[in-house]
């Protein structure tokens, strides 16, 4: 008996994809994650633009990760043009990135992933029966949004971020209030941990290389080196040149591999490779969720996301304390480049490693742009996971099989707007 199982326009993920499984005589013939998001050719939109316009335009690659794209873009431009941002600006940028990871993770945990484990098609089903849970999700999300609004000027597509630093800074009173909001979020976070600790995660192991940034003394966010569970320790520029991007016939997103094959980026990679750098509270939560650095279960991506939420809330509180110890001066940046040049930068976006690389001419106009997206780096792993998971599911009815595979895909929190809008290679 042969059957074809198709899941069109997968739901509760960012962007558009279909999943197609061909089954024949009880065996899987093929399994494809078809990314059908339309290509946007962002690199061509940037050519010839002034360096000060690049970050606001690339932010539009993705609404969910607009801050990560802005950060990677600003840092790549600064590296290219020889501009060193103020240390306080670096601290604020880190806080802003934490805000985005919290926004994205909380949205994914409550609105996209939790329904799988609660056995409902969407969280809107809970509006009447579990309004406490729904309101808690929105309260937590509001606190995360507040970080981005206060530091970035807007929750989606930041407006205060600029080459060299920021064009506007929060008032001391606003930072104090934000600190209070973060402290007030702790009981809601506790309830969240309790909720997720009660979920039953499928047992499934598939070892793969886990890659993330490494930052001396800190949990990685904006850094110069890349490390992996298989022993890589390289500069961002070195690692980037070892990535081979390739296209497959069924996807408008490129896939990425190194010479060792496919690899994974994202919360699980960060938690595994930087376990010792997690905050005390995050380590306790990891223990409560039975998550450790040895895990090889991709479904644990969800647990890793929650552990990071706790870590970044705790870190943000300390970061605000540090910021409050410094007094602010005029915010408007006046950084001017010394000439053209090339630069590459990487940040940890909510879904993992994100690279931007640019070259500028002597007038500060963009010549080439290249950008490698977290989800593009994960797509091959997602397919490999599905292939390895399917044999155990073949006896299930189609609906249950689909549900299980969708849950796995959502564990990666794929962002397909990003992965098809990627910038690529030189345009000459």
């Amino acid at each position: 008996m042969s059957r074809k199982i198709s899941l069109n326009h997968l739901t509760r993920i960012e962007g558009h994809a279909h999943l197609v499984i061909d089954k024949k005589a009880g065996k899987i013939e093929s399994c494809r994650l078809e990314v059908v998001e339309s290509p946007r050719f962002f690199e061509a939109l940037l050519k010839g633009r002034h360096f000060s316009d690049i970050a606001p335009i690339v932010a539009r690659v993705c609404g969910v990760c607009s801050i990560s794209h802005t950060m990677a873009s600003l840092m790549a431009t600064e590296n290219a043009l020889g501009i060193e941002p103020d240390p306080r600006a670096k601290a604020l940028r880190r806080l802003l990135s934490q805000g985005e990871i919290l926004q994205s993770h909380l949205l994914q945990l409550y609105f996209m992933a939790a329904p799988d484990y609660l056995g409902i098609p969407s969280i809107f089903q809970l509006l009447n029966q579990r309004s406490d849970l729904f309101s808690r999700a929105l309260r937590l999300k509001r606190t995360a949004n507040r970080i981005c609004e206060l530091i970035g000027g807007r929750a989606v597509h930041p407006v205060t971020t600029a080459i060299g630093g920021f064009t506007a800074l929060p008032e001391v009173s606003e930072l104090k209030q934000l600190r209070q909001d973060l402290v007030d979020a702790l009981p809601d976070l506790e309830a969240t941990v309790e909720l997720f600790a009660g979920f039953e995660f499928p047992e499934f192991l598939r070892p793969t290389e886990q890659v993330c940034l490494a930052q001396p003394g800190q949990y990685p966010l904006h850094a110069e080196r890349v490390i992996s569970s298989c022993g890589i320790d390289q500069t961002v520029a070195e690692f980037k040149t070892s990535i081979d991007e390739y296209i497959v016939p069924h996807s408008t997103a490129k896939m990425a591999r190194t010479e060792r094959g496919h690899y994974c980026v994202g919360p699980l990679a960060r938690v595994k490779n930087s376990f010792a750098r997690l905050s005390p509270m995050a380590l306790k939560v990891a223990a409560a969720l039975q998550l450790n650095a040895e895990t090889q279960n991709p479904f644990h991506g969800l647990k890793a996301r929650l552990v990071e939420v706790i870590h970044f809330v705790e870190e943000a509180i300390h970061a605000i304390d540090n910021l409050l110890l410094h007094s602010y001066v005029s915010a408007r940046t006046t950084a001017m480049p010394k000439g053209g040049g090339q630069g590459v930068a990487a940040v940890e976006a909510p879904r993992g490693l994100l690279f931007h690389a640019y070259s500028y001419d002597s007038k500060g106009l963009l010549e080439t742009a290249d950008c490698i997206i977290p989800t593009a780096q994960n797509l091959a792993s997602i397919e490999a996971d599905i292939e390895s998971l399917l044999p155990d599911l073949l006896d299930l009815p189609d609906e249950q099989l689909k549900q299980r595979v969708e849950t796995l895909i959502r564990s990666y929190d794929p962002c397909l707007s990003c992965s098809t809008h990627q910038l690529q290679v030189a345009i000459k």
Binding site: S38, A44, L45, F111, S122, A162
Partner: protein, 243 residues
């Protein structure tokens, strides 16, 4: 029965839908008044009839035309959500270039699944009843439009320039920093959020209906800028208006 609303997206960044989700407490109140029946990013459910559809993104492929028309057929009121749906937005930044050449540059392939056409705003494909401009949209404006539709009123957009909101908030003028600002001709409704953040207005909400060009020319002259300088800036979000 509650009004049934749906959210859909085509080629874009989903930042406008995200802005709706970010309405937080207001969202809870909205959900008392309406029933969200489709929202692929957050829901697995699908229905047959929709009262109000909010649609984000541009149309870039033949299969998207068909999908949009199907949504139109089962929807009473269709609202373009954000710049990409409204006028093409940043998707059109490369519209002066041949799509086939772009495809070669980015993918080095002409495979069938990579074929796209020039991005179109929704109104080039189906009838659009109302629009919410901006990149991204302003959440309060979304609420105002939804409120009007629920009350059977015509939603209307502010018909004055961002400059008005900026002056009322007493922000320093971007021109005084030597920057080119599109505030004098761009439609208000964003509370001049970019100028509040120390940036300038990049015109993401499109032109006000009857922009007063002569005072603007004077401002430009005073600051040594030309109409060409302005047009360069204006094109970032509004190429669709010229085409």
């Amino acid at each position: 029965m509650k009004t049934r609303i749906g959210f859909f997206d085509f080629t874009g960044c989903e930042g406008c839908q995200l802005t709706v989700m970010n309405l937080e407490n207001d969202l809870l109140q909205v959900l008392q008044l309406v029933e969200v029946v489709e929202f692929r990013e957050l829901m697995s459910e699908e229905v047959s009839q929709i009262d109000i559809a909010f649609i984000e993104g541009s149309i870039t492929r033949q299969q998207d035309h068909a999908r949009l028309k199907t949504i139109r057929d089962r929807t009473k009121t269709l609202v373009a959500l954000g710049a990409c749906a409204d006028n093409g937005g940043v998707n059109l930044l490369a519209s002066h270039q041949d799509v086939a050449v772009l495809r070669q540059q980015v993918y080095a392939s002409d495979a069938v699944h990579l074929l796209t056409e020039k991005p179109l705003p929704l109104h080039e494909v189906v009838k659009v009843d109302y629009r919410i401009p901006g990149c991204p949209i302003d959440g309060r404006e979304f609420l105002a439009v939804l409120q009007a539709l629920l009350l059977d009123r015509e939603p209307d957009l502010p018909n004055f320039a961002v400059c008005v909101e900026c002056k009322l908030a007493e922000y320093p003028c971007s021109f005084d920093y030597g920057e080119i600002c599109l505030g004098p001709v761009t439609r208000a409704g964003c509370q001049a959020i970019c100028i509040a953040g120390g940036d300038r207005c990049r015109g993401c909400r499109g032109l006000v209906d009857n922009p007063r060009t002569s005072p603007y020319h004077r401002v430009l002259e005073e600051h040594g800028l030309s109409v060409q300088d302005i047009l360069e800036q204006y094109r970032t979000f509004n190429i669709g208006e010229e085409l």
